[in-house]
């Protein structure tokens, strides 16, 4: 699968993911866009959006049933996801506290983090960006989300229940 095909796959999956959540409505998808540098009627009203002086591969603007607008961050990788990639998303997510921060790859995580993914002491702070909120990492292919690839482990059941 080439990069463009994978990008389409990610975009289609995330659209379905949001559509399947009765609580959410997708307002707009920003691709590789620095939200702090654009003018948008909804983003302009969101204090967190102005903090997003960085580029994620996808940022989704969604509206919750309560009427509140939230952001979803997604970085996608045709390669395996390593520590640097998690650290990068951790910074973005700590700044803007998105509804979800997702790292999606064809291959899942890199073997370099095998040792630490099952060690909650290491993996919890590495993935956690807010109270009860963690970055979620997983492999996605034409068969959908590979459930065994979902990290961190303590978020797996929660995330599986979402789709």
């Amino acid at each position: 699968m080439n990069k463009a095909e994978f990008e389409n796959l990610v975009e289609n999956w995330v659209t379905q993911f949001i559509e399947s959540d009765d609580n959410l409505t997708l307002c707009k998808t920003f691709k590789n866009t620095n939200l702090a540098k654009i003018s948008h009627p909804i983003l302009d009203q969101m204090s967190t959006a102005k903090l997003c002086d960085f580029n994620c591969d996808f940022v989704l603007l969604v509206k919750e049933k309560t009427g509140e607008y939230r952001l979803i961050f997604i970085n996608r990788f045709p390669k395996s996801i390593g520590l640097k990639d998690i650290g990068e998303m951790l910074i973005y997510a700590k700044i803007a506290k998105p509804l979800y921060a997702l790292l999606i790859s064809l291959n899942g995580h890199s073997s370099e983090i095998n040792n630490m993914v099952t060690n909650n002491q290491i993996s919890a702070p590495l993935f956690q960006y807010d109270t009860n909120k963690s970055i979620i990492l997983f492999a996605l292919n034409n068969n959908g989300v590979q459930k065994d690839s979902i990290l961190p482990l303590n978020s797996r059941d929660f995330f599986i229940a979402k789709f």
């Binding site: 903090l51 960085f54 951790l90 700590k94 700044i95 890199s110 073997s111 095998n114 065994d148």
Partner: protein
């Protein structure tokens, strides 16, 4: 603890690729390098082995009298292809876990990616404590061996222990054949256990166990020792000083191992293919390295002295010169070679030369071996010098790698200023952590623990510094672009996992305003460990100086 076949199998898995963790957890890594692995191809005309010549997509028959041996024209579809991630996941879920559950109570988790599946078991505290004590002081496969208690278990349990080793570090690979002629064909297939280089104990432990309990032959042990892997210094002279440090491989012929099985289906299918090939071709020689390989070492087999043979990353028992695999086995505790040594007239003479009988002036013979090794090294180096060409450095724009030597020197001075301690600093682009420690002349001492921690975590920032006296280490991540949030994110991941004493993010350019603003608003983003913060610096290359910047 009453052992059963499930526990014995788990002991095999841990010995091969296990981590004994806290909280009653055990994790097992099941690695597979490639998504697909190919089986064997046989020529449709004569049935001989067909292989792919270099650079060709088609196959050629190995039978020189066959019409298909002239040019590569056989379709590679003759080979079966196995999807490893699928096979591993299904087998672990449907075979391995149920088998473990038949004798052990546990809950479990899978984590998988494109190169391995990681199985984590949560055991009851009694079994976890038993396993911890069984392997003590080892807590991972980097230093495990088959526990001595496992020599006293039942036959079916011993078989399951080996099955566990096969599933974790056993590999059946169609490319692992050796050129041998059989009754009906060519090429003899081998299976192997692959052991991480740091663990010198396990190959001998496996050899002793298979030989001692099952009387099984081992074709060879391919040691990742400088004299064995790089006997003519070829890798060393190409600058690949740690190339010898690839995994050890314990190789055996499948026809003698039919009582064992892989539970991972792709491995088992390949095992069956390789086995059937050997049975069809018909080989009668066991080719056991013991005792056949243990004999006087001929002069032409004496290896050149290798500059890495004393390096501190080798197990201290083999931090020496060797000329043959059995010498490593002897030093690592092979009871079988030891029995031959005990019968030898002169034990030191036997150990160095392989000579068992009494000879006149044994010390002269020993000295001759050493002299020949040293002379071979000198000859190789002299030959190298006469053929070495001057390589001109190409001029170009500044690269990140150009900053590394400056940063290495700066970090050593910085650590000294901060702590009053000498340090070892190096850049990970020019060498791995393993290589760095391999080239140290000093005893790695206390900081080897830090090295092992980092090596286990596969942490690789641009520059790493270690203090000599304690376990403290320092990271520098270097950039030749301005520093932004992305760059901060790249070092913070390492910091969360490894918790260095200090971490510096350094640039030859500027610190971007988004980063400055973000830190001003939320200082939490640069924090790690127990309140430590990533530091920022601007590198002045001409002055070889870093100006630390307060954000």
């Amino acid at each position: 603890m009453k052992i059963n076949t499930s526990i014995a199998y788990l002991v095999g898995l841990i010995t091969g690729k296990g981590y004994i963790e806290e909280n009653n957890q055990i994790s097992i890594e099941f690695p597979f390098v490639n998504k697909y692995i190919e089986g064997i191809a046989h020529c449709p005309v004569c049935g001989y082995l067909a292989t792919k010549p270099s650079g060709s997509d088609l196959l050629k028959c190995k039978n020189l009298t066959c019409i298909n041996s002239k040019v590569a024209k056989l379709d590679s579809n003759l080979k079966k292809i196995y999807d490893q991630p699928e096979a591993f996941n299904k087998s672990i879920r449907n075979e391995i876990v149920p088998f473990l559950e038949s004798g052990i109570d546990f809950s479990f988790n899978f984590v998988s990616n494109s190169t391995c599946t990681f199985l984590t078991l949560k055991l009851d505290s009694i079994l976890h404590t038993y396993l911890k004590e069984l392997f003590d002081p080892a807590i991972s496969f980097t230093s495990t061996s088959i526990p001595s208690e496992m020599w006293n278990i039942q036959e079916d349990e011993k078989i399951e222990l080996i099955n566990g080793l096969l599933d974790s570090i056993g590999f059946a690979n169609a490319g692992g054949w050796i050129p041998r002629d059989g009754l009906n064909g060519h090429g003899r297939m081998r299976i192997y256990f692959q052991v991480i280089n740091r663990n010198y104990k396990l190959p001998v432990s496996i050899d002793n166990y298979l030989r001692g309990n099952f009387n099984l032959p081992i074709q060879t042990i391919d040691w990742g020792h400088p004299n064995i892997r790089d006997g003519n210094l070829a890798d060393y002279l190409q600058g690949k000083k740690s190339a010898y440090g690839r995994e050890h491989q314990v190789k055996f012929y499948p026809e003698y191992y039919q009582q064992f099985k892989f539970r991972i289906s792709s491995k088992q299918a390949l095992f069956q293919e390789l086995l059937q090939h050997n049975l069809d071709v018909g080989f009668s020689d066991k080719e056991d390295w013991f005792p056949n390989a243990v004999k006087e070492i001929p002069v032409n087999k004496i290896k050149a002295t290798h500059p890495m043979e004393q390096n501190p990353m080798l197990d201290s028992k083999v931090r020496t010169h060797v000329d043959a695999l059995w010498q490593v086995n002897l030093k690592m505790g092979c009871s079988f070679v030891k029995s031959l040594q005990d019968q030898a007239a002169n034990k030191e003479l036997f150990e160095i030369t392989g000579i068992s009988n009494d000879i006149l002036e044994p010390q002269t013979k020993i000295d001759l071996f050493r002299k020949i090794s040293n002379q071979k090294k000198l000859d190789i180096l002299e030959n190298r010098l006469s053929t070495k060409k001057t390589v001109q450095k190409s001029k170009g724009k500044e690269l990140e790698i150009d900053t590394y030597p400056v940063l290495v020197k700066w970090l050593e001075q910085y650590i000294y200023q901060q702590t009053g301690e000498d340090s070892f600093s190096f850049d990970t682009s020019s060498q791995t952590l393993f290589h760095f420690f391999s080239t140290l002349k000093d005893d790695v001492g206390s900081f080897s623990e830090s090295y092992i921690d980092l090596e286990n975590l596969s942490i690789r920032p641009d520059i790493v510094g270690f203090t000599r006296q304690n376990k403290d280490f320092y990271f520098i991540e270097s950039k030749i672009t301005s520093l932004g949030l992305k760059e901060l994110g790249q070092i913070i991941g390492y910091c969360y996992v490894a918790n260095p004493k200090e971490a510096l993010l350094v640039t030859t350019k500027e610190i971007s305003s988004p980063l400055i603003k973000a830190v001003a608003r939320n200082r939490e983003i640069i924090k790690y460990g127990d309140g430590k913060e990533v530091k920022f610096g601007k590198l002045n290359m001409s002055k070889a100086q870093i100006d630390l910047v307060e954000l």
